[in-house]
Amino acid sequence: MQRSGNLVNGIIAVMFGILFIFCWQVGGFHVLLQLKPYQLPLPTDIAGALYSNFDVVMENTKFTMCEALVGIFLGSILGFMFAMLTAIFPKWGSGGLTLVTAFNAVPMIAMAPIMNNWFGMGMSSKIAVVTMFSMAPMAINTYRGLTVLKPFTLDLLNSYAADKKTIFLKLRLPNSVPNVLTALKINTTIGLMAAICSEFFTSYHGIGFELSTVLKLSQMSLGWAYIVAAALCGILMYGVVSLVEYYALKWHTSQQ
């Protein structure tokens, strides 16, 4: 019953998507928003541009993905360690967490030029930006997972006279796994965004650089092709984390 309902929902959604692209193709949006085709290229043009420039697009996509992945990896590890330290020394840590929350609200593109001064025009400056902005979501989420425990679990372990180390390893750490995975999902999007946005200004490679360059040359369809590539990267990374989540959290109530 449930399954067939999902199938129907899926079909409805796909139909809507097809309808949307069809409207776009026959020029519905152009009439509605009073745009010319050179401002908003048609889907077939975008597909054509993607097809004929496939190698270049792939090369730049790989470059950006590298930055994003390395940055997300480093940032997530740092954030996780920060959360662990915070949970172990709550008195000083939670104050640090307040600062991390504040830092999370800092516009990421403002950091791109600074990192560029530090690490040059290459890949490492973008990795640094991605690292900085994947730290906070991981730290905040993991900290919640380590400290917001199910009622009475801590009392139970205390009644066993479990020491702090056991409580941490057997209760807090497993309890944080769902939160860590949630943070990873958030980070895939943030990381990709940070990588692309820092490439707008300080790079010679990557989706962001190519995007702003081809738009300056008025190659709108190619620009949209890069957007499509970026979107697919985002969906891919998110999908991989979701898959890991599905298999890692089979025991968890949210999956049942």
Binding site: I12, G95, I196, C197
Partner: protein, 265 residues
């Protein structure tokens, strides 16, 4: 209350510690490593703070330009987001149709659309407002919709048994119940809207904090201090946006206590 105070003190200590580390770092860079780029890499904090204070008026003026555009976009995006979420929950068909796309929207680097938006809408103000609205829309719509979905079935049935009208059901039960979720979304999108406005500015506008950052980069070591001061202003803007929403949340959602899952995105 006591715990809150220690937390605030700890945050203050961290803050002071960071500034000290900044000063030490700048000193090491300048006097130990003799880095020729030390002004750009990390100037002394007191110099940056001084520049910040001296140029406060012009920085604030630029920041206000950015903030006003981001604010208009934010309100626009939030209103449309809430409206779409309510329509989605009222008309099940629309909900089923749009929901997968809202989920996908969370996986896509929406900010990458900035140059595209800018090249479609040639007006500087319109581009800033549109991108801010666009960025705001998705988290608000997703969180509002999931808030409306998560209202207790029993409560809905109770209100239904009172033969409440749709309007009453929404005004008195559904929307208040969804408010905490809505605010999670708003807290995510407020700094994002400001980021979007700054990003569009850095692609080329006449005024705003983003273009101040970019322009001061051209002057190398001479512009370094004003550059850092502008970056700090931009950072404060983002934090300000978050803090305002968090403050309004405290005023509006006073019944919500304890830990609640933060919104997705």
């Amino acid at each position: 209350m006591e715990a809150r105070r220690t937390k605030n003190i700890a945050a203050l200590v961290w803050f002071v510690g960071l500034i000290l580390a900044w000063e030490c770092g700048a000193w090491v860079l300048q006097n130990v490593m003799h880095d020729s780029m030390h002004m750009q890499k990390l100037p002394y904090f007191h110099q940056v703070a001084g520049t910040f204070l001296v140029n406060f008026n012009s920085l604030l003026a630029s920041a206000m330009v950015t903030l006003s555009r981001a604010f208009i976009g934010f309100i626009l995006g939030a209103v449309v987001g809430v409206a779409v979420a309510i329509v989605m929950s009222l008309a099940k068909f629309v909900g089923k149709m749009l929901f997968p796309y809202l989920i996908i929207s969370q996986m896509i680097p929406v900010l990458a659309l900035a140059p595209i938006v800018y090249s479609i809408v040639k007006s500087q103000d319109a581009a800033r407002i549109m991108l801010s609205a666009f960025i705001t829309f998705f988290p608000v719509a997703v969180n509002m919709y999931s808030g409306l979905k998560s209202v207790d079935k029993d409560k809905i049935e109770l209100v239904y048994s009172y033969t409440a009208t749709k309007i009453d059901t929404y005004c008195k039960l559904m929307i208040p119940a969804a408010l905490p979720h809505l605010f999670s979304g708003l807290k995510l999108s407020a700094p994002a809207a400001i980021t979007a406005a700054i990003l569009v500015e850095m692609l080329g506008t006449k005024e705003g904090i983003g273009i101040k950052i970019l322009n001061s980069l051209y002057y190398g070591a001479n512009g370094a201090l004003i550059f850092w001061a502008s970056v700090i202003m931009a950072a404060l803007l983002g934090i300000f946006g978050y803090a305002v929403i968090a403050f309004i949340e405290k005023l509006v959602v006073h019944w919500e206590k304890g830990d609640r899952e933060e919104g997705v995105s």
